[in-house]
């Protein structure tokens, strides 16, 4: 905690460098300019840059390169640190929908009334004032893929947000990212008090899912009928599944047991869906099949607990590394926590993965550019490249070491925090 604030204003250079403003005309007129310097800058779009600098204007990255060869605008506010990375991207969370109090009034991640509800939109439930957002941001996380949680056969839609803004609309980066489905025990009705709307067995779950996609396909066909009177009334649920069938929206399938992962791949093949596997505790048993299917995996939090046997009993710290080695695109996530702590931090999960087989670049990519690609926002975030959003995390050492601090967070060119965390 002794590192203190690392913010430097270059006002004293203003007079000497005043003339440079001509060369930086666009910068001088396009909003606040910010300069971020790092002993090492990991752009995730090429080799790391020693003594690097990122120049930001108007919320976008205007230049990235070695400080010695990159023109630096005058009058700019300046941040610096040992390690500079893109703002971290958490590939799957429920923060903003599942609140930190864990009381009924702040839990909007799962509606238990029906088993299949793809029409539920994440943007209608996202709370940008949630305290956990500030918590995650303090550790360098700037973008999260959040929304409806695992725990229903089809729980609802997910979205991608920046961890900034006071309304959901201001925070949103992609209003619909995927449709969240779960194959496994948490989406099954079990015991005496089981509701009859949820599937009671694994086979029933898959049968229900197939039936609904068949229905959606029929609906889409009939909506195109020439005779308007024969077209069915609009149905938001089937419209949503139609978007999945049309491959506009991926189906995010949370599945841990190899059986359920195999079912997800079977469904993907049958309906030609874009599937993204989520959690996938036993994915290492099916690496060849996953690879062949071309399906990316958002691997469970590395430190997820193998609670009480069942689906997660075969969790491994090494799964991310095993899948990466097999050539499967992976990202890491904070996941969903039902108790204490209410969320994990994807930076920490990547650190543990880096200690268990992922290389440093692989682990960093899994929470930056590779995560951004899988959730469909790599055109905006995930790497430090000219023209991309100015989302940046600054660290006072190896970001994966437990005792390193995140000392600066920038989102869309705005300095969100500089307090070491």
């Amino acid at each position: 905690m002794s590192s203190g604030r690392r913010e430097i204003h270059l006002g004293h250079l203003a007079a000497a460098a005043g003339g440079v403003c001509l060369a930086w005309a666009s910068l001088c007129h396009g909003g606040e300019t910010l300069v971020v310097r790092g002993d090492v800058v990991h752009t995730m779009a090429g080799p790391a840059i020693a003594a690097g600098v990122v120049v930001i204007e108007g919320g976008k990255i205007r230049a990235v390169g070695a400080a010695a060869t990159t023109p630096i605008p005058p009058h700019a506010r300046e941040l610096r640190g040992a390690i500079v990375t893109p703002g971290l991207v958490d590939a799957h969370s429920v923060v903003g929908l599942s609140g930190y109090l864990n009381q009924p009034q702040d839990q909007d991640q799962l509606d238990p009334v029906e088993a299949i509800q793809p029409e539920l939109r994440a943007i209608d439930a996202y709370n940008p004032q949630e305290r956990l957002i500030e918590w995650l941001r303090g550790f360098g996380v700037t973008t999260i893929h959040t929304g409806h949680a695992p725990g229903a056969l089809v729980a609802g839609q997910t979205m991608v947000v920046k961890l900034a803004g006071t309304t959901a609309d201001a925070a949103v980066l992609r209003p619909v990212a995927m449709v969240a489905a779960t194959l496994g025990d948490s989406a099954r009705a079990t015991g005496d008090g089981a509701d009859t709307k949820s599937p009671g067995t694994r086979s029933k779950a898959v049968a229900m899912l197939r039936a609904e996609f068949v229905k959606a396909r029929e609906y889409a066909r009939k909506r195109q009928l020439a005779d308007e009177s024969k077209r069915p009334d609009p149905d938001l649920r089937l419209e949503a599944l139609g978007n999945v069938l049309a491959r506009d929206w991926p189906l995010l399938v949370t599945a841990d047991r190899a059986t359920d992962i195999a079912s997800a791949l079977r469904i993907a093949d049958e309906f030609q869906l874009r599937v993204v596997l989520d959690s996938a505790a036993e994915a290492y048993l099916l690496a060849d099949q996953i690879k062949a299917a071309g399906v990316p995996v958002i691997v469970h939090p590395t430190m997820r607990r193998a609670g009480g046997g069942g689906e997660t009993e075969n969790l491994s710290f090494e799964t991310a590394a095993t899948l990466a080695k097999a050539g499967i695109p992976i990202a890491l996530q904070s996941g969903y926590e039902s108790y204490v702590p209410k969320t994990r931090v994807v930076l920490f999960e990547a650190g543990l993965a880096a200690a268990h087989g992922l290389s440093f670049p692989q682990a960093l990519a899994a929470i930056t550019i590779d995560a951004a690609k899988i959730i469909g926002v790599a055109d905006r975030v995930g790497s430090l490249e000219v023209g991309k959003d100015a989302d940046i995390a600054i660290f006072d050492g190896d970001p994966f070491e437990y005792t390193t601090h995140c000392t600066g967070v920038v989102i869309d060119g705005q300095v969100m925090s500089t307090e070491p965390r």
Partner: protein
């Protein structure tokens, strides 16, 4: 220099002569060249640790400790050795405390319900833990007696108990306030009611104790034996310490008030909001066992959890341990929790102490464990690097000189890393078709 002299002194005094219960004929092992973290003493960059018969026989710089001729020499160059970790708050082993019959059940002993074959114990060893305080849950005002265990290889719980001089199992009493213990009657519905129930029980226990004293051993005059009150008398007489779950600042203060009123000894556990009342805790002279979590929330009383608690308590001079509360945090990652406390401002020395000696003191076991000191049990963790680094692995764990975890052993590695079958004994436990799978028991 002082350090060197100290070490030479030890070497001369103990290296080649029987130390305490160890006899000269007992097997002797010398770990040579490791960085030693004794805890409570400065680290030794290149040291020798000598163990004989399950006890530490010498600790010092390499050039200051002579290695006996009969010693097995282990080259530990580049490795780090520290004391076995002490977890003051664990739920490993599937143990259960009180049931739904009432809020105060101090007669219930968790040791009567622990499955020593639970895979959780193997994972503890993979994390370098060698001593645990296994507790019942926090759903009662008093949920039962806790048990202190030493993670030797075990067939039954009796094999791992710490015992007092009279052979009685050692443990404390688990108590809790706040929201976890609030339920429908006969459980309390409010914080005021919770304190009133506890106060009433202790008043009864005092009367019982007085009757016992008055009887003076005369069996005619002795009151009927009451196991509940007997356990509370143990607490009043400071034979058992209270391990008290509490999160919110006002709940912490309530524990201090009851402790002051009835004169028992207590450790405050979890203490999410201790950072708000550190001076008050310091004035009471009570230790805290802190939980270190990845985020606040999950329940209302943990809403103001902060990573700075350890640092704030340290600065206030409060004795501070860290615990896993396994399954809330993973015993395999116990070192990590101390590192996060350091990230938030705790000093390295105090954080490492919080995993070892501070906890040992809270369990009253510091004469035997918690630091690398001559005469103490040879409970050790051998690490691949610095204990606070993400990349460091627990390579070996020793309990009383016996190797109980070895990362090079494929089965041990499975428990350390996870993978197919890594939770196998839990499977066996939940099924009813015969013996545990091969390898799950030792």
């Amino acid at each position: 220099m002082v350090q060197t002299l100290w070490a030479i002194g030890l070497a001369v005094a103990f290296a080649c002569v029987p130390a305490f219960t160890a006899r000269a004929a007992d097997p002797c092992t010398a770990f040579v060249g490791a960085r030693l973290i004794p805890v409570g003493q400065p680290e030794i960059a290149a040291g020798t640790l000598l163990i004989r018969g399950g006890t530490i026989a010498a600790v010092g710089p390499v050039d200051a400790v002579s290695i006996p001729a009969d010693a097995t020499r282990v080259d530990a160059g580049g490795l780090v050795i520290m004391p076995g970790l002490v977890d003051t708050h664990s739920h490993v082993g599937g143990g259960q405390g009180g049931d739904a019959s009432g809020p105060v059940q101090p007669d219930v002993r968790i040791l009567d319900s622990i499955n020593v074959h639970d895979v959780g114990f193997r994972k503890c060893l993979a994390g370098g833990l060698t001593t645990l305080n296994i507790m019942p849950g926090s759903g009662h005002l008093a949920s039962g007696q806790t048990v202190y265990v030493k993670l030797r290889k075990a067939a039954t719980i009796d094999d791992i108990l710490y015992r007092d001089a009279g052979g009685r199992p050692l443990g404390g009493l688990k108590m809790a306030n706040g929201t976890n213990s609030q339920r429908d009657p006969p459980f309390p519905g409010t914080r005021g009611k919770a304190a009133a129930i506890v106060r009433q029980k202790f008043v009864k226990a005092i009367a019982y104790r007085d009757k016992l004293a008055k009887a003076g051993g005369d069996t005619e005059k002795l009151p009927d034996r009451d196991l509940e009150l007997e356990a509370l008398v143990d607490v009043l007489e400071k034979r058992k310490i209270v391990h008290h779950h509490c999160h919110r600042a006002d709940d912490i203060i309530t524990v201090l008030r009851l402790r002051e009123e009835f004169g028992f000894e207590a450790v405050l556990h979890h203490v999410s909001e201790a950072w708000k009342v550190a001076p008050e805790i310091a004035r009471a002279g009570v230790g805290c066992s802190v939980i270190v979590l990845d985020s606040p929330g999950g329940k209302i009383e943990a809403a103001d959890f902060s990573l700075v608690t350890g640092a704030v308590l340290e600065e206030a001079g409060v004795p501070c341990a860290i615990h896993t509360d396994d399954p809330v945090t993973d015993s395999r990652l116990f070192l990590r929790t101390a590192a996060l406390a350091v990230r938030a401002g705790m000093t390295r020395g105090k954080a490492l102490e919080a995993l070892t000696l501070a906890g040992a003191k809270m369990l009253g076991l510091h004469d035997r464990i918690g630091s690398l000191e001559v005469g103490k049990d040879a409970d050790l963790v051998v690490l691949s690097g610095d204990p606070l680094s993400t990349h460091t692995k627990v390579l070996q764990t020793y309990v009383q000189g016996q190797k109980v975890f070895d990362r090079d052993d494929p089965e041990d590695r499975l428990f350390a890393v996870g993978g197919f079958g890594a939770s196998r004994d839990q499977r066996a436990e939940s099924c009813c078709n015969g013996p545990t799978k091969v390898g799950a028991m030792r």
